[in-house]
Protein backbone atom coordinates (compact mmCIF):
# COMPACT_ATOMS: atom_id res chain seq x y z
CA UNK A 1 0.00 0.00 0.00
CA UNK A 2 2.82 2.41 0.83
CA UNK A 3 4.29 1.63 -2.57
CA UNK A 4 1.08 2.70 -4.24
CA UNK A 5 0.84 5.94 -2.27
CA UNK A 6 4.48 6.77 -2.98
CA UNK A 7 4.05 6.20 -6.69
CA UNK A 8 0.68 7.69 -7.46
CA UNK A 9 2.22 10.05 -10.02
CA UNK A 10 3.88 7.14 -11.83
CA UNK A 11 0.60 5.22 -11.90
CA UNK A 12 -1.24 8.32 -13.12
CA UNK A 13 1.28 8.95 -15.89
CA UNK A 14 1.13 5.33 -17.04
CA UNK A 15 -2.65 5.41 -16.92
CA UNK A 16 -2.77 8.42 -19.23
CA UNK A 17 -0.28 6.79 -21.57
CA UNK A 18 -2.36 3.62 -21.50
CA UNK A 19 -5.54 5.51 -22.35
CA UNK A 20 -3.84 7.36 -25.16
CA UNK A 21 -2.69 4.08 -26.72
CA UNK A 22 -6.13 2.49 -26.39
CA UNK A 23 -8.40 5.28 -27.64
CA UNK A 24 -7.16 5.21 -31.22
CA UNK A 25 -7.68 1.45 -31.69
CA UNK A 26 -11.15 1.66 -30.14
CA UNK A 27 -12.22 4.60 -32.32
CA UNK A 28 -10.56 3.30 -35.44
CA UNK A 29 -11.94 -0.17 -34.84
CA UNK A 30 -15.42 1.28 -34.54
CA UNK A 31 -15.15 3.37 -37.69
CA UNK A 32 -13.66 0.56 -39.78
CA UNK A 33 -16.16 -1.96 -38.48
CA UNK A 34 -19.16 0.03 -39.72
CA UNK A 35 -18.61 -0.61 -43.45
CA UNK A 36 -17.42 -4.15 -42.74
CA UNK A 37 -20.40 -4.91 -40.57
CA UNK A 38 -22.72 -3.44 -43.18
CA UNK A 39 -21.16 -5.52 -45.94
CA UNK A 40 -21.51 -8.58 -43.73
CA UNK A 41 -25.14 -7.77 -43.00
CA UNK A 42 -26.20 -6.74 -46.47
CA UNK A 43 -24.78 -9.38 -48.80
CA UNK A 44 -25.05 -13.06 -48.17
CA UNK A 45 -21.90 -13.71 -50.19
CA UNK A 46 -19.67 -11.34 -48.24
CA UNK A 47 -21.18 -12.21 -44.88
CA UNK A 48 -19.48 -15.59 -44.68
CA UNK A 49 -16.19 -14.12 -45.82
CA UNK A 50 -16.15 -11.12 -43.48
CA UNK A 51 -17.32 -13.04 -40.44
CA UNK A 52 -14.92 -15.92 -41.05
CA UNK A 53 -11.92 -13.70 -41.61
CA UNK A 54 -12.62 -11.49 -38.59
CA UNK A 55 -13.27 -14.63 -36.54
CA UNK A 56 -9.91 -16.05 -37.56
CA UNK A 57 -8.06 -12.78 -36.92
CA UNK A 58 -9.57 -12.77 -33.47
CA UNK A 59 -8.15 -16.24 -32.89
CA UNK A 60 -4.53 -15.14 -33.35
CA UNK A 61 -2.77 -14.72 -30.00
CA UNK A 62 -1.49 -11.18 -29.50
CA UNK A 63 2.17 -12.09 -29.12
CA UNK A 64 2.01 -13.90 -32.46
CA UNK A 65 0.18 -11.04 -34.15
CA UNK A 66 2.90 -8.65 -32.97
CA UNK A 67 5.38 -10.78 -34.89
CA UNK A 68 3.30 -11.13 -38.04
CA UNK A 69 2.33 -7.47 -38.48
CA UNK A 70 5.88 -6.13 -38.93
CA UNK A 71 6.51 -8.82 -41.52
CA UNK A 72 3.45 -7.91 -43.51
CA UNK A 73 3.39 -4.14 -43.05
CA UNK A 74 7.08 -3.35 -42.81
CA UNK A 75 6.72 -1.57 -39.47
CA UNK A 76 9.10 -2.12 -36.56
CA UNK A 77 8.50 -5.02 -34.19
CA UNK A 78 9.33 -3.02 -31.07
CA UNK A 79 7.09 -0.04 -31.70
CA UNK A 80 3.89 1.59 -30.59
CA UNK A 81 2.54 1.37 -34.14
CA UNK A 82 2.72 -2.40 -33.88
CA UNK A 83 0.67 -2.41 -30.68
CA UNK A 84 -1.89 0.10 -31.96
CA UNK A 85 -2.46 -1.76 -35.23
CA UNK A 86 -2.78 -5.11 -33.46
CA UNK A 87 -5.31 -3.69 -31.01
CA UNK A 88 -7.23 -2.11 -33.89
CA UNK A 89 -7.45 -5.47 -35.63
CA UNK A 90 -8.90 -7.11 -32.53
CA UNK A 91 -11.35 -4.24 -32.07
CA UNK A 92 -12.49 -4.47 -35.70
CA UNK A 93 -12.85 -8.23 -35.36
CA UNK A 94 -15.17 -7.84 -32.38
CA UNK A 95 -17.17 -4.93 -33.74
CA UNK A 96 -17.66 -5.96 -37.36
CA UNK A 97 -19.61 -8.93 -36.09
CA UNK A 98 -21.62 -6.98 -33.57
CA UNK A 99 -22.50 -4.27 -36.10
CA UNK A 100 -23.68 -6.92 -38.54
CA UNK A 101 -25.81 -8.44 -35.75
CA UNK A 102 -27.09 -5.05 -34.77
CA UNK A 103 -28.23 -4.17 -38.27
CA UNK A 104 -29.91 -7.55 -38.42
CA UNK A 105 -31.85 -6.67 -35.29
CA UNK A 106 -33.63 -3.77 -36.97
CA UNK A 107 -37.23 -4.66 -37.76
CA UNK A 108 -37.48 -5.16 -41.57
CA UNK A 109 -40.91 -3.47 -41.49
CA UNK A 110 -39.25 -0.25 -40.27
CA UNK A 111 -36.75 -0.47 -43.08
CA UNK A 112 -39.53 -0.91 -45.62
CA UNK A 113 -41.46 1.99 -44.11
CA UNK A 114 -38.43 4.25 -44.49
CA UNK A 115 -38.07 3.23 -48.12
CA UNK A 116 -41.77 3.75 -48.65
CA UNK A 117 -41.65 7.37 -47.45
CA UNK A 118 -38.86 7.99 -49.94
CA UNK A 119 -35.59 7.55 -48.03
CA UNK A 120 -32.62 6.65 -50.21
CA UNK A 121 -30.29 3.88 -49.04
CA UNK A 122 -27.67 6.29 -47.63
CA UNK A 123 -30.13 8.42 -45.70
CA UNK A 124 -32.06 5.37 -44.57
CA UNK A 125 -28.91 3.78 -43.22
CA UNK A 126 -27.71 6.77 -41.20
CA UNK A 127 -31.04 8.12 -40.00
CA UNK A 128 -33.05 4.93 -39.48
CA UNK A 129 -31.10 1.70 -39.45
CA UNK A 130 -27.93 2.83 -37.69
CA UNK A 131 -29.69 4.62 -34.80
CA UNK A 132 -32.11 1.73 -34.30
CA UNK A 133 -29.20 -0.70 -34.27
CA UNK A 134 -27.51 1.58 -31.72
CA UNK A 135 -28.15 -0.33 -28.50
CA UNK A 136 -26.72 -3.58 -29.88
CA UNK A 137 -23.81 -1.74 -31.51
CA UNK A 138 -23.10 -0.10 -28.17
CA UNK A 139 -22.97 -3.51 -26.51
CA UNK A 140 -20.31 -4.58 -29.02
CA UNK A 141 -18.39 -1.35 -28.59
CA UNK A 142 -18.29 -1.85 -24.84
CA UNK A 143 -16.89 -5.37 -25.22
CA UNK A 144 -14.27 -4.11 -27.66
CA UNK A 145 -13.27 -1.17 -25.47
CA UNK A 146 -12.87 -3.21 -22.30
CA UNK A 147 -10.93 -5.97 -24.08
CA UNK A 148 -8.63 -3.47 -25.77
CA UNK A 149 -7.77 -1.81 -22.48
CA UNK A 150 -6.95 -5.13 -20.81
CA UNK A 151 -5.03 -6.44 -23.80
CA UNK A 152 -2.87 -3.33 -24.28
CA UNK A 153 -0.76 -4.29 -21.25
CA UNK A 154 0.92 -6.96 -23.36
CA UNK A 155 2.55 -4.04 -25.21
CA UNK A 156 5.29 -3.95 -22.57
CA UNK A 157 6.62 -7.18 -24.12
CA UNK A 158 7.35 -5.29 -27.34
CA UNK A 159 8.82 -2.30 -25.51
CA UNK A 160 5.72 -0.12 -25.39
CA UNK A 161 5.31 1.48 -22.01
CA UNK A 162 1.87 1.61 -20.42
CA UNK A 163 0.25 0.12 -17.31
CA UNK A 164 1.84 -3.21 -18.30
CA UNK A 165 5.12 -1.67 -17.10
CA UNK A 166 3.93 -2.18 -13.54
CA UNK A 167 3.76 -5.93 -14.19
CA UNK A 168 7.28 -6.41 -15.55
CA UNK A 169 8.88 -3.83 -13.25
CA UNK A 170 7.03 -5.27 -10.25
CA UNK A 171 8.26 -8.74 -11.14
CA UNK A 172 11.86 -7.52 -11.44
CA UNK A 173 11.70 -5.75 -8.10
CA UNK A 174 9.47 -8.34 -6.36
CA UNK A 175 6.97 -5.67 -5.34
CA UNK A 176 3.59 -7.39 -5.20
CA UNK A 177 1.62 -4.16 -4.52
CA UNK A 178 3.08 -2.72 -7.73
CA UNK A 179 1.74 -5.58 -9.86
CA UNK A 180 -1.53 -5.55 -7.97
CA UNK A 181 -1.86 -1.80 -8.48
CA UNK A 182 -1.34 -2.38 -12.20
CA UNK A 183 -4.12 -4.97 -12.39
CA UNK A 184 -6.50 -2.73 -10.45
CA UNK A 185 -5.61 0.35 -12.49
CA UNK A 186 -6.31 -1.49 -15.76
CA UNK A 187 -9.65 -2.70 -14.46
CA UNK A 188 -10.59 0.77 -13.23
CA UNK A 189 -9.71 2.37 -16.57
CA UNK A 190 -11.77 -0.29 -18.33
CA UNK A 191 -14.75 0.15 -16.04
CA UNK A 192 -14.65 3.95 -16.28
CA UNK A 193 -14.54 3.84 -20.08
CA UNK A 194 -17.35 1.30 -20.02
CA UNK A 195 -19.43 3.58 -17.79
CA UNK A 196 -18.74 6.53 -20.09
CA UNK A 197 -19.92 4.51 -23.06
CA UNK A 198 -23.14 3.61 -21.25
CA UNK A 199 -23.64 7.27 -20.41
CA UNK A 200 -22.96 8.34 -23.98
CA UNK A 201 -25.46 5.72 -25.10
CA UNK A 202 -28.13 7.20 -22.85
CA UNK A 203 -27.48 10.70 -24.11
CA UNK A 204 -27.37 9.74 -27.77
CA UNK A 205 -30.17 7.21 -27.65
CA UNK A 206 -32.68 8.54 -25.15
CA UNK A 207 -35.38 6.40 -26.71
CA UNK A 208 -33.60 3.14 -25.91
CA UNK A 209 -35.02 1.26 -22.92
CA UNK A 210 -32.64 1.44 -19.97
CA UNK A 211 -31.76 -2.16 -19.69
CA UNK A 212 -29.02 -3.50 -17.52
CA UNK A 213 -25.91 -4.72 -19.21
CA UNK A 214 -27.01 -8.28 -18.54
CA UNK A 215 -30.32 -7.89 -20.27
CA UNK A 216 -28.73 -6.30 -23.27
CA UNK A 217 -26.34 -9.17 -23.58
CA UNK A 218 -29.16 -11.59 -23.35
CA UNK A 219 -30.98 -9.69 -26.04
CA UNK A 220 -27.93 -9.84 -28.25
CA UNK A 221 -27.72 -13.52 -27.60
CA UNK A 222 -31.36 -14.15 -28.47
CA UNK A 223 -30.98 -12.15 -31.63
CA UNK A 224 -27.97 -14.22 -32.49
CA UNK A 225 -29.91 -17.40 -31.96
CA UNK A 226 -33.04 -16.32 -33.73
CA UNK A 227 -31.23 -15.35 -36.90
Amino acid sequence: MTWVLDNLDLIAALTLEHLRQCLLPILLGFVLAIPLGWVAFRFRLTRGLVLTVTGLLYTIPSLALFAILPTVLGIRFLSEANLVIALTIYAVAIMARSISDALGSVDPAVRQAATAVGYGPWRRFWTVEFPLAGPVILAGLRVAAVSTIALATVGILIGVENLGYLFTNGLQRRIIPEVFAGVIAVMLVALVIDALLVLAGRLLMPWAPRRTAGRRRRLALRLGEAA
Partner: protein
Amino acid sequence: MFTARNKGRLALGAVVVGAALALSGCASGDPLDSGGTDTGSGSSDTIVIGSQAYYSNEIIAEIYAQALENAGYTVERNFNIGQRDAYLPSLEDGTIDLFPEYTGNLLQYYEPDTTATTSDDVYAALKDALPDGLTVLDQSPATDQDSYNVTKAFADQYGLTSLDDLASVDVPLILGGAPELEERPYGPTGLKSLYGVDVQFQATGDTTVEDLVAGTVNIANVYSADPRIQTEDLVTLDDPKGLFLASNVVPLVNADIADEIADIINAVSAKLTPAGLIALNVRSTVDQKSTDAIATQWLNGQGLI
Protein backbone atom coordinates in the same frame (compact mmCIF):
# COMPACT_ATOMS: atom_id res chain seq x y z
CA MET B 1 -5.10 2.28 -43.09
CA PHE B 2 -7.51 0.35 -45.19
CA THR B 3 -4.80 -1.08 -47.36
CA ALA B 4 -2.91 -2.07 -44.27
CA ARG B 5 -5.85 -4.01 -42.99
CA ASN B 6 -6.41 -5.66 -46.28
CA LYS B 7 -2.84 -6.76 -46.39
CA GLY B 8 -3.23 -8.15 -42.90
CA ARG B 9 -6.22 -10.18 -43.95
CA LEU B 10 -4.38 -11.40 -46.97
CA ALA B 11 -1.55 -12.49 -44.76
CA LEU B 12 -3.88 -14.40 -42.56
CA GLY B 13 -5.44 -16.17 -45.49
CA ALA B 14 -2.02 -17.15 -46.64
CA VAL B 15 -1.15 -18.57 -43.28
CA VAL B 16 -4.39 -20.45 -43.12
CA VAL B 17 -3.89 -22.24 -46.39
CA GLY B 18 -0.23 -22.69 -45.68
CA ALA B 19 0.74 -20.62 -48.69
CA ALA B 20 2.67 -17.95 -46.88
CA LEU B 21 5.21 -18.00 -49.64
CA ALA B 22 2.76 -16.18 -51.85
CA LEU B 23 3.50 -13.09 -49.84
CA SER B 24 6.95 -12.53 -51.23
CA GLY B 25 7.49 -8.87 -51.79
CA CYS B 26 5.19 -7.77 -49.00
CA ALA B 27 7.91 -8.03 -46.43
CA SER B 28 10.89 -5.79 -46.64
CA GLY B 29 13.90 -6.11 -44.41
CA ASP B 30 14.26 -7.24 -40.84
CA PRO B 31 11.65 -5.61 -38.62
CA LEU B 32 14.09 -5.64 -35.74
CA ASP B 33 16.64 -3.56 -37.57
CA SER B 34 15.07 -0.75 -39.46
CA GLY B 35 13.81 2.68 -38.67
CA GLY B 36 13.66 4.94 -35.66
CA THR B 37 10.99 5.55 -33.06
CA ASP B 38 8.98 8.70 -32.93
CA THR B 39 9.29 9.08 -29.20
CA GLY B 40 10.48 12.33 -27.69
CA SER B 41 11.40 15.53 -29.39
CA GLY B 42 14.99 16.63 -29.20
CA SER B 43 15.41 20.35 -29.42
CA SER B 44 18.78 21.99 -28.95
CA ASP B 45 18.21 23.29 -25.43
CA THR B 46 16.43 20.23 -24.08
CA ILE B 47 18.42 17.11 -23.30
CA VAL B 48 16.43 13.94 -23.81
CA ILE B 49 17.50 11.12 -21.52
CA GLY B 50 16.39 7.54 -22.04
CA SER B 51 16.59 4.39 -19.96
CA GLN B 52 16.08 0.67 -20.33
CA ALA B 53 13.11 -1.11 -18.82
CA TYR B 54 15.39 -2.22 -15.97
CA TYR B 55 14.94 -0.56 -12.61
CA SER B 56 18.66 -0.16 -11.94
CA ASN B 57 19.25 1.49 -15.31
CA GLU B 58 16.36 3.84 -14.67
CA ILE B 59 17.96 5.00 -11.41
CA ILE B 60 21.20 5.90 -13.19
CA ALA B 61 19.26 7.76 -15.87
CA GLU B 62 17.40 9.70 -13.20
CA ILE B 63 20.72 10.60 -11.54
CA TYR B 64 21.99 11.96 -14.88
CA ALA B 65 18.75 13.89 -15.27
CA GLN B 66 18.85 15.52 -11.86
CA ALA B 67 22.55 16.35 -12.16
CA LEU B 68 21.90 18.12 -15.47
CA GLU B 69 18.83 19.90 -14.13
CA ASN B 70 20.90 21.12 -11.21
CA ALA B 71 23.35 22.59 -13.71
CA GLY B 72 20.52 24.53 -15.36
CA TYR B 73 19.65 22.23 -18.28
CA THR B 74 16.12 21.37 -19.31
CA VAL B 75 15.73 17.63 -19.32
CA GLU B 76 13.13 15.44 -20.90
CA ARG B 77 12.85 11.91 -19.50
CA ASN B 78 12.08 9.12 -21.90
CA PHE B 79 12.52 6.16 -19.59
CA ASN B 80 11.77 2.45 -19.86
CA ILE B 81 12.12 2.11 -23.59
CA GLY B 82 12.80 -1.56 -23.27
CA GLN B 83 15.46 -3.35 -25.26
CA ARG B 84 18.45 -2.08 -27.22
CA ASP B 85 16.68 -2.76 -30.50
CA ALA B 86 13.99 -0.36 -29.40
CA TYR B 87 16.12 2.52 -28.21
CA LEU B 88 19.43 2.48 -30.10
CA PRO B 89 17.81 3.66 -33.34
CA SER B 90 16.42 6.64 -31.42
CA LEU B 91 19.90 7.47 -30.16
CA GLU B 92 21.38 7.07 -33.60
CA ASP B 93 18.87 9.45 -35.14
CA GLY B 94 19.23 11.98 -32.33
CA THR B 95 15.77 11.72 -30.75
CA ILE B 96 17.46 10.67 -27.51
CA ASP B 97 20.66 12.43 -26.39
CA LEU B 98 21.86 10.50 -23.38
CA PHE B 99 21.44 6.94 -22.16
CA PRO B 100 23.08 4.95 -19.35
CA GLU B 101 24.64 1.87 -20.89
CA TYR B 102 26.96 -1.00 -20.01
CA THR B 103 30.23 -1.29 -21.91
CA GLY B 104 30.35 -5.07 -22.38
CA ASN B 105 26.75 -5.64 -23.36
CA LEU B 106 26.71 -2.64 -25.66
CA LEU B 107 29.92 -3.75 -27.35
CA GLN B 108 28.43 -7.20 -27.85
CA TYR B 109 25.42 -5.61 -29.51
CA TYR B 110 27.57 -3.89 -32.10
CA GLU B 111 30.25 -6.58 -32.31
CA PRO B 112 28.86 -9.98 -31.37
CA ASP B 113 32.21 -11.68 -32.00
CA THR B 114 34.37 -9.35 -29.95
CA THR B 115 37.30 -10.88 -28.07
CA ALA B 116 37.85 -8.06 -25.59
CA THR B 117 37.10 -9.02 -21.99
CA THR B 118 38.89 -6.67 -19.59
CA SER B 119 37.35 -3.40 -18.59
CA ASP B 120 39.81 -1.19 -20.49
CA ASP B 121 39.89 -3.34 -23.62
CA VAL B 122 36.12 -3.40 -23.78
CA TYR B 123 35.90 0.37 -23.33
CA ALA B 124 38.47 0.96 -26.09
CA ALA B 125 36.78 -1.49 -28.45
CA LEU B 126 33.41 0.06 -27.74
CA LYS B 127 34.63 3.52 -28.73
CA ASP B 128 35.66 2.13 -32.10
CA ALA B 129 32.50 0.11 -32.58
CA LEU B 130 30.00 2.91 -32.02
CA PRO B 131 28.32 4.34 -35.10
CA ASP B 132 29.03 7.93 -36.16
CA GLY B 133 27.24 10.50 -34.10
CA LEU B 134 27.35 8.45 -30.93
CA THR B 135 30.06 8.44 -28.34
CA VAL B 136 30.62 7.43 -24.75
CA LEU B 137 31.85 9.57 -21.86
CA ASP B 138 34.13 8.22 -19.12
CA GLN B 139 33.19 4.81 -17.88
CA SER B 140 32.27 4.45 -14.25
CA PRO B 141 34.02 2.06 -11.86
CA ALA B 142 30.58 0.56 -11.18
CA THR B 143 29.92 -2.63 -13.08
CA ASP B 144 26.75 -4.52 -13.70
CA GLN B 145 27.74 -7.55 -15.67
CA ASP B 146 26.73 -11.14 -16.12
CA SER B 147 28.20 -13.50 -13.56
CA TYR B 148 27.66 -17.10 -12.56
CA ASN B 149 26.61 -17.70 -8.99
CA VAL B 150 25.95 -20.67 -6.76
CA THR B 151 24.48 -20.89 -3.28
CA LYS B 152 26.87 -20.77 -0.33
CA ALA B 153 25.90 -24.32 0.63
CA PHE B 154 26.60 -25.63 -2.86
CA ALA B 155 29.94 -23.80 -3.00
CA ASP B 156 30.98 -25.24 0.37
CA GLN B 157 29.90 -28.75 -0.53
CA TYR B 158 32.03 -28.88 -3.68
CA GLY B 159 34.71 -26.36 -2.70
CA LEU B 160 33.81 -23.93 -5.48
CA THR B 161 35.38 -20.53 -5.90
CA SER B 162 35.90 -20.33 -9.65
CA LEU B 163 34.32 -21.58 -12.84
CA ASP B 164 37.35 -23.87 -13.17
CA ASP B 165 36.17 -25.81 -10.12
CA LEU B 166 32.87 -26.74 -11.73
CA ALA B 167 34.47 -29.60 -13.64
CA SER B 168 34.82 -31.56 -10.39
CA VAL B 169 31.15 -31.36 -9.43
CA ASP B 170 29.56 -34.80 -9.76
CA VAL B 171 25.89 -33.83 -9.87
CA PRO B 172 24.21 -32.64 -13.07
CA LEU B 173 24.68 -28.89 -13.41
CA ILE B 174 21.64 -26.86 -14.37
CA LEU B 175 22.24 -23.29 -15.43
CA GLY B 176 19.44 -20.77 -15.00
CA GLY B 177 19.19 -17.35 -16.60
CA ALA B 178 17.31 -15.20 -19.06
CA PRO B 179 15.99 -17.19 -22.06
CA GLU B 180 18.51 -15.64 -24.45
CA LEU B 181 21.46 -16.87 -22.33
CA GLU B 182 21.04 -20.26 -24.02
CA GLU B 183 22.32 -18.73 -27.26
CA ARG B 184 24.86 -16.24 -25.88
CA PRO B 185 28.60 -16.81 -26.38
CA TYR B 186 29.05 -16.87 -22.59
CA GLY B 187 26.16 -19.32 -22.17
CA PRO B 188 26.34 -23.13 -22.13
CA THR B 189 28.56 -23.22 -25.24
CA GLY B 190 31.12 -20.86 -23.71
CA LEU B 191 31.20 -22.76 -20.44
CA LYS B 192 31.89 -25.95 -22.39
CA SER B 193 34.59 -24.59 -24.66
CA LEU B 194 36.43 -22.44 -22.11
CA TYR B 195 36.04 -24.45 -18.91
CA GLY B 196 35.07 -27.89 -20.22
CA VAL B 197 31.88 -27.85 -18.16
CA ASP B 198 28.67 -29.44 -19.39
CA VAL B 199 25.51 -27.77 -18.21
CA GLN B 200 21.85 -28.14 -18.93
CA PHE B 201 20.07 -24.87 -19.54
CA GLN B 202 16.83 -23.76 -17.99
CA ALA B 203 15.27 -20.37 -18.68
CA THR B 204 14.46 -18.69 -15.38
CA GLY B 205 14.32 -15.02 -16.41
CA ASP B 206 13.31 -12.57 -13.71
CA THR B 207 13.07 -15.28 -11.07
CA THR B 208 16.60 -16.65 -11.55
CA VAL B 209 17.74 -15.93 -7.99
CA GLU B 210 14.62 -17.47 -6.49
CA ASP B 211 15.10 -20.53 -8.66
CA LEU B 212 18.69 -20.89 -7.49
CA VAL B 213 17.72 -20.58 -3.84
CA ALA B 214 14.81 -22.97 -4.31
CA GLY B 215 17.05 -25.47 -6.07
CA THR B 216 15.39 -25.63 -9.48
CA VAL B 217 18.80 -24.69 -10.88
CA ASN B 218 22.23 -24.87 -9.24
CA ILE B 219 24.12 -22.21 -11.21
CA ALA B 220 22.55 -18.84 -11.89
CA ASN B 221 23.40 -15.97 -14.17
CA VAL B 222 22.92 -12.89 -12.01
CA TYR B 223 23.95 -9.30 -12.73
CA SER B 224 26.87 -8.44 -10.50
CA ALA B 225 25.14 -5.36 -9.05
CA ASP B 226 22.15 -7.39 -7.90
CA PRO B 227 21.85 -6.87 -4.12
CA ARG B 228 20.57 -10.39 -3.70
CA ILE B 229 24.05 -11.80 -4.28
CA GLN B 230 24.69 -10.51 -0.75
CA THR B 231 21.27 -10.82 0.81
CA GLU B 232 20.74 -14.38 -0.43
CA ASP B 233 24.29 -15.36 0.46
CA LEU B 234 25.34 -16.35 -3.06
CA VAL B 235 28.89 -17.09 -4.16
CA THR B 236 29.98 -15.49 -7.43
CA LEU B 237 32.37 -17.82 -9.20
CA ASP B 238 35.59 -16.22 -10.47
CA ASP B 239 36.12 -16.13 -14.20
CA PRO B 240 39.91 -16.51 -14.67
CA LYS B 241 39.65 -17.30 -18.38
CA GLY B 242 37.52 -14.30 -19.26
CA LEU B 243 34.22 -15.89 -20.26
CA PHE B 244 32.35 -12.68 -19.51
CA LEU B 245 33.02 -9.23 -20.87
CA ALA B 246 33.57 -6.60 -18.23
CA SER B 247 30.55 -4.34 -18.30
CA ASN B 248 30.98 -0.96 -16.66
CA VAL B 249 28.29 1.64 -16.45
CA VAL B 250 28.92 4.15 -19.23
CA PRO B 251 26.96 7.16 -20.52
CA LEU B 252 26.14 6.74 -24.20
CA VAL B 253 25.69 10.19 -25.64
CA ASN B 254 25.00 12.09 -28.83
CA ALA B 255 28.37 13.36 -30.08
CA ASP B 256 26.98 16.87 -30.58
CA ILE B 257 26.41 17.49 -26.91
CA ALA B 258 29.08 15.19 -25.49
CA ASP B 259 31.60 17.95 -24.71
CA GLU B 260 28.99 20.23 -23.27
CA ILE B 261 27.74 17.83 -20.62
CA ALA B 262 30.96 15.84 -20.13
CA ASP B 263 32.02 17.55 -16.88
CA ILE B 264 28.70 17.05 -15.16
CA ILE B 265 28.18 13.45 -16.22
CA ASN B 266 31.80 12.40 -15.73
CA ALA B 267 31.62 13.67 -12.16
CA VAL B 268 28.63 11.41 -11.60
CA SER B 269 30.34 8.41 -13.21
CA ALA B 270 33.47 8.89 -11.09
CA LYS B 271 31.45 8.73 -7.87
CA LEU B 272 29.42 5.71 -8.86
CA THR B 273 31.27 2.75 -7.36
CA PRO B 274 30.41 -0.94 -7.63
CA ALA B 275 29.24 -0.98 -4.01
CA GLY B 276 27.42 2.28 -4.57
CA LEU B 277 25.43 0.84 -7.46
CA ILE B 278 24.43 -2.16 -5.36
CA ALA B 279 23.34 0.22 -2.60
CA LEU B 280 21.18 2.12 -5.08
CA ASN B 281 19.56 -1.12 -6.16
CA VAL B 282 18.88 -2.00 -2.53
CA ARG B 283 17.08 1.33 -2.13
CA SER B 284 14.82 0.30 -4.99
CA THR B 285 14.13 -3.38 -4.35
CA VAL B 286 14.39 -3.61 -0.57
CA ASP B 287 13.36 -0.12 0.58
CA GLN B 288 11.00 0.23 -2.41
CA LYS B 289 11.81 3.92 -2.78
CA SER B 290 10.85 5.76 -5.94
CA THR B 291 13.55 6.32 -8.53
CA ASP B 292 13.23 10.05 -8.10
CA ALA B 293 13.86 9.96 -4.36
CA ILE B 294 16.76 7.50 -4.68
CA ALA B 295 18.53 9.71 -7.20
CA THR B 296 18.11 12.93 -5.19
CA GLN B 297 19.34 11.30 -2.03
CA TRP B 298 22.41 9.84 -3.74
CA LEU B 299 23.37 13.09 -5.45
CA ASN B 300 23.03 14.96 -2.16
CA GLY B 301 25.08 12.36 -0.37
CA GLN B 302 27.85 12.63 -2.94
CA GLY B 303 27.84 16.42 -2.78
CA LEU B 304 26.99 16.62 -6.47
CA ILE B 305 23.92 18.80 -6.07
